[in-house]
């Protein structure tokens, strides 16, 4: 079954139709975008049953065991990422129906949104290095434009900063691809992995690995490369902030980094390189949480919190044990749900009050019960309060760190978890509890479509813990962990099919 091409084809096609049909009737952009994203969601759910699929575009078979065509690969890790991208993507589109009413140009907004989804799905499914680069640029350029969508002074400034750093990152990645190609003479990821395994991991492979670490690290906003994120993510419209923080930095940052380092370059068993990930992850975990503590702007606080949580994921991957990968991937999934929910909450607050400054809010729960309750659930989940989903993933990461004898990193993970709780309690106290401010006596709860998106995400935050029940774990999480842990098997599986 070759349905996996549709993951790229549907959003690209819808993005093409949007400007053509968008002006015909007022409701068409909403319907088209939601239809496209809903069909992607259904496809992503169907993909969980697929097992390994290798699709050769144009039917170009391998010649003498060397692949020559463009491959799309659907394996355990890709299924997990597709689920994340398309579930959050659909909920964010649904939310946009009401939220984007106040912006003037809905068709263009949806066009960029769908291009971003197409790019992310492409990165996840791509089986060769250069297509990862091309799809990554599609997603990234769409996101630069979306950050600047409001065209106010702050938004333009943030978008410019974001794009300059994003382009520098792309240059590093392209440089890495060029050197990897000259080393191996192939661009197919499975073939490249096979050749590198034969040649052995020498200094050039480490150099390529470092280039990719800097490039994808910039896209993922890991600590020394994080400066653009706190400007770019809050400046975008709320559904886009949710997509950028919840999904984009994971799909074109963390996912691409892991895929290249562990599956292609085979660095998953090299302890010195893993230690770099461990240290960088811990750095961003600590610095992100400390910087978040001092923020007054609701969305900016959430952006710093994203840096901190990405740190957890990188830290878990840096442990290099199966349990570490399980914790990292599960936290990646959980972070996508609760961080998108929190950004949608902040969007709801901005929608009703027009204000992002936490100090000026207060008592909003009385007037906005749905927003208040869902943000409470998300805050508790991200801070790791049992039995919400965030608790389980953090627990696994900490246990994995102890198992790997990295006691200091385990201790730091616990400490940062407490700091996380502190700044989310601050959000709750300042924004949603206490006395209702004078200015907010008349505000109303946001429209029903926005509430529905937030409620679904809140249910996911509560319920995702069930993914750890052995029967369900074997379907979704275990295949993804297997892909990362046995990185070298990737080449055999793809080339053998």
């Amino acid at each position: 079954m070759n349905l996996i091409v549709l993951f790229v084809a549907i959003p690209l096609g819808a993005a093409f139709l949007m400007p053509l049909l968008g002006r015909v009737a007022r409701k068409i952009p909403d319907i088209l975008a939601n239809l496209a994203n809903f069909s992607l969601l259904v496809l992503a759910l169907l993909a969980t049953k697929q097992g390994l699929v290798v699709y050769k575009i144009g039917g170009w078979e391998a010649v003498g065991g060397i692949p020559i065509g463009i491959y799309l690969v659907l394996d355990g890790l890709a299924v997990l990422m597709l689920l994340i991208v398309n579930v959050i993507g659909f909920l964010a589109t649904f939310y946009s129906v009401a939220y984007m009413e106040r912006y003037t140009d809905k068709p263009r907004y949806y066009t960029l949104f769908l291009l971003m989804i197409a790019g992310m799905n492409g990165v996840i499914l791509s089986g060769d290095m250069f297509n990862i680069f091309v799809f990554m640029e599609i997603a990234a350029i769409a996101s630069y434009a979306l950050v600047a969508f409001g065209t106010e002074a702050e938004e333009l400034e943030a978008a410019f900063k974001y794009q300059v750093l994003g382009t520098v990152a792309s240059c590093f990645i392209l440089f890495g691809i060029a050197i990897a190609y000259s080393l191996t003479g192939t661009l197919n990821m499975a073939d490249m992995s096979r050749v590198i395994a034969q040649q052995g991991i020498g200094t050039p492979v480490f150099f390529v690995g470092t280039l990719f670490l800097v490039g994808f690290g910039l896209k993922a906003a890991i600590m020394p490369f994080h400066a653009w994120l706190p400007d770019a993510h809050p400046s975008a419209p709320a559904p886009i902030s949710a997509m950028l923080s919840g999904v984009l930095i994971k799909a074109i940052g963390v996912y691409a980094l892991c895929r290249v380092l562990f599956n292609v370059l085979g660095l998953g068993k090299v302890s010195s390189f893993l230690y770099i990930l461990l240290v960088l992850g811990t750095l961003s975990m600590i610095a992100g949480s400390l910087l978040a503590l001092g923020q007054r702007d609701f969305k900016r606080l959430l952006a710093y919190s994203s840096i901190s949580q990405i740190g957890y994921i990188i830290l878990a991957f840096g442990l290099g044990t199966p349990l570490g990968f399980l914790g990292g991937l599960f936290h990646l999934l959980n972070h996508a749900t609760f961080k998108s929910l929190l950004f949608l909450n902040s969007g709801a607050v901005v929608y009703s009050t027009g204000n992002r400054d936490l100090k000026k809010m207060g008592g909003l729960s009385q007037r906005m019960p749905v927003t208040g309750t869902t943000s409470m659930i998300a805050s508790m989940s991200i801070s790791g309060i049992p039995p919400l989903s965030g608790f389980w993933s953090k627990l696994i990461i900490i246990i994995a760190a102890i198992q790997a004898q990295q006691f200091i990193f385990a201790l730091l993970a616990v400490v940062v978890s407490i700091i996380t709780l502190a700044y989310y309690l601050k959000v709750q106290k300042l924004a949603f509890f206490g006395k209702l401010g004078e200015a907010w006596q008349e505000i109303k709860e946001v429209p029903a479509v926005m509430c529905i998106s937030m409620i679904i995400l809140a249910v996911l935050c509560v319920g995702l813990g069930i993914l750890l029940i052995p029967g369900i774990k074997a379907v979704i999480l275990d295949p993804a962990v297997e892909v990362l842990y046995n990185g070298a098997r990737y080449a055999q599986l793809i080339l053998g099919s």
């Binding site: 250069f130 400034e157 410019f160 300059v164 240059c171 060029a178 706190p230 923020q295």
Partner: protein
């Protein structure tokens, strides 16, 4: 040797991005970085005494240059065009808001 020149060009571009205070000069720096990489790709594909990779009469056994990097460079140039166009249009909008290209005077975002 020519590889070193590519790296030098890349570093000149990076210098422009990091040090220059003018938005347009930053964009030019990024373009130089991209061109350095395009050149690098073209150099990778070069073979000593190679000809264009088209099999015609009399050239069946000739040494061909590697055509793949050239195809990649074409794609990368198109992407580079999109990046530059978007950056320049952002710079124009920023100039309309602030009346300057100097990044020291465009600092609304802090913290």
């Amino acid at each position: 040797m020519i590889y070193l020149l590519c790296v030098l060009l890349l570093l000149i571009g990076l210098y422009g991005v990091l040090v220059k205070k003018n938005l347009i000069k930053i964009i030019i720096g990024l373009s130089i970085m991209e061109y350095a990489l395009f050149l690098f790709f073209a150099v990778i594909g070069y073979r000593e005494g190679g000809t264009a990779p088209i099999i015609t009469k009399g050239f069946e056994k000739a040494v061909f240059v590697d055509p793949l990097p050239q195809a990649l460079v074409l794609t990368a140039i198109v992407i580079g065009l999109a990046v530059t166009a978007l950056l320049v249009s952002l710079a124009v909008r920023i100039y309309e808001k602030h009346g300057t290209f100097d990044i020291r005077k465009i600092r609304r975002l802090k913290g």
